[in-house]
């Protein structure tokens, strides 16, 4: 078969898929299988599960604040190990294969160590290896900046490597192999009726990713959306089709709500009765942002004459630090009190259909009310509605919403 008629596929295997020597061999077998069906293959690998954490711990033994440049050099060994072991496995099975690291695959990034962004990929080297009928194994998560320093893309960066390579090589599809079967209408551990979605739009996936569905790294979805790269999220352990993440299409618009997702990892801080003056939000958030704390939802609403309540959420791990910072400015801005609550959860529904359908929000509120679940914060976007509720009601809320919007296996949603 000439290489012109063969499909070029990029496959990415995460840390749990290559978590042991046995698993690496299994991945090699699966890659060879795909190859034998007449495809050319570029395989992106993460570090073996636990390896990146182990390296991080090692660096912390040297110093609490390891130099970012050197930390990237250290962390890059994780993918270097898995990619060389994988190439050995493929070769031992009689197929030609070469590993390429960031500098060899010419994955050029900016200079932000620890969370570099891919700027350009020179595909010459990869294409040459493909032309010589080799399977190409590319180390995920790593690149080089313009001075040939090693950079890493941050947690989940291998997804971005895979999507960027798919775009640069104009490959047919980017297959992301993971330990779940695809994207579900809700967490199957919470909702027994949760349904695997056949396809989902980039926009919906972005909302789901940012809402705590940890299947795909959010930056890889942004990248895929920008370059229109089709992603196929599927299981390392079965041959079943997973979920296609693709550009929005006409028929998708009929779907009102695609999924329900919950996140117990946030905590809420409320600044009570602040005089409603210009610059108040800046005064509250300036020290928080300067401390590098990521704020998720922000809601402000008037409480009494000339006064306002301002609530926002941060991750539970940054809760205490944030509370201390905000209490530090409370007096200066004349707030009556600063309250904190860690026993909260965020429940969200996501769907392209919301754009054109009124009533989705009220159906959500009604459903939660029927279950006697109190909503303490609400935040909406074009295709998402998030509610903060008491943590203990999380699973009840997810199941009720999943049922109410007809997402389950029993009742097809459209």
């Amino acid at each position: 078969m000439s290489s012109l008629t063969m499909a070029l596929i990029v496959q990415k295997y995460g840390g749990t898929s290559v978590g042991s020597i046995e698993k690496i061999k299994k991945v090699a077998e699966r890659v060879i299988e795909t190859c034998e069906r007449g495809n050319r293959l570029v395989v992106v690998l993460s570090a073996m599960a636990g390896q990146t954490d182990a390296l991080m711990r090692l660096s912390k033994e040297i110093t609490e604040t390891p130099d970012p440049r050197e930390l990237d050099v250290l962390l890059a060994t994780g993918e270097q190990m898995s990619v060389s072991l994988f190439a050995m496995a493929v070769k031992s099975m009689g197929y030609d294969c070469r590993s390429l690291l960031g500098f060899q695959a010419a994955i050029h990034t900016d200079q932000i160590y620890g969370k570099a962004r891919i700027k350009k990929i020179d595909t010459d080297h990869i294409l040459k290896e493909l032309d010589e009928n080799r399977i190409v194994a590319v180390a995920g998560f790593q690149g080089i900046d313009e001075r040939r320093n090693i950079t890493t893309l941050g947690r989940g960066g291998s997804d971005t490597t895979a999507v960027a390579l798919t775009a640069a090589l104009k490959a047919t599809v980017c297959e992301i192999f993971t330990d779940v079967e695809g994207i579900f209408s809700a967490d199957p551990n919470i909702c027994t009726h949760a349904r695997k979605l056949d396809r989902i739009s980039y926009e919906e996936m972005l909302e789901l990713a940012s809402l705590g569905a940890r299947v795909l790294d959010i930056r890889s979805v942004e990248f895929a959306k920008r370059f229109n790269v089709p992603i196929h999220v599927r299981s390392s352990f079965t041959r079943d089709e997973g979920t296609m993440v693709v550009a929005e299409k006409k028929e998708m618009e009929r779907v009102l709500v695609s999924g329900v997702v919950s996140d117990k990892n946030e905590a809420r801080i409320t600044v009570v009765k602040v005089p409603d003056r210009p610059g108040i939000a800046f005064k509250i958030f300036d020290p928080v942002f300067k401390a590098g704390i990521v704020v998720d939802m922000i809601v402000q609403n008037p409480s009494a004459e000339g006064l306002t309540d301002l609530s926002f959420t941060v991750t539970k791990t940054q809760f205490q630090e944030t509370l201390t910072l905000v209490r530090g400015v409370a007096q200066e801005i004349g707030a009556e009190n600063v309250l904190g609550d860690q026993d909260i959860a965020k429940v969200s529904i996501v769907g392209l259909g919301m754009r054109n359908h009124a009533g989705v929000a009220s159906k959500m509120f009604e459903t939660l009310a029927r279950e006697n679940i109190n909503i303490t914060m609400i935040s909406t976007s074009e295709i998402k509605i998030s509610c903060i509720i008491e943590e203990k009601y999380t699973e009840l809320a997810v199941r009720a919403l999943h049922e109410a919007f007809g997402l389950g296996n029993e009742k097809e949603k459209d």
Copy 2:
């Protein structure tokens, strides 16, 4: 102090010197000390002790015969780890430092994976980092070939990296830090009177290295000799001066014998009563060399009319394989028998003085005879005499020779 007046020093620390996080910090302190005395520093590091073996074992779990290219990619992570951890340690102590891997330090090698030779080093990158007042930490043992594949230099390769960098950078000296205090006139574990040598010539060091003194890798000494690079072998654990390995000088010629060294790692094979015809040696050694077996001593002497005995030594680990191969050709060449003996040791004396002094060999034989030690093979070079004896007499032979040639601390040798 201007950089023009500062000495440039290359230091190399081996695997035991960087065998733990604590030891890496100690090395960082020592490097900073040298820096504060007004020197510019390039530091070459090996992988942490045990790391290369661990990676090797991992590759063997994939396949008994790992692909050489991918094995080098895997092994190179060892030095990548130690060099990044070291740079972090130095930076955490307030000094600027950068790690450079083979491709960044531009260490160009040939394409022989697993035992590549350094062809050229482009020093631009290193010099630039030095000019910016950084300590430069270079990963030992690794380079890149002309197609930017990662190569490794083989066991002990970091010594060669350090010597090659010293030559390329025209540095003042190459300091090799190790777990011994320098080069001794004999193994201090065998000879309590063994004396640390202040200096030794490249030629003597080459003989000592090839005779089993594992302080310096032999290829690094060859490299140093070729480019006249002074090597200072010294201890990681003390501040004492070690041994300078330098070009032969006039005053050195007065030294008759520099050291005694023994090696229990060899075994002997004797082909008994072969018809003494042209091509016999070729027939015996052809299958042995083709199997990649390294033969050390070869001795042939006539046994009876038209017949000859041929003996040679190989390492004990390759003994059985070699014996099988040689027995396979024994009948074809009409040999009477093939004998093997593993209970042997090689005892050698090395010294530049032998060139001009007769009687050194006879003094060696006389000394061994006085101790009733039988010699079964003898091999000589310009500055070395090696005898094969029964293994159990090794320590006795070393002590007797050390005493006979006056090498000890009590009696100065010249």
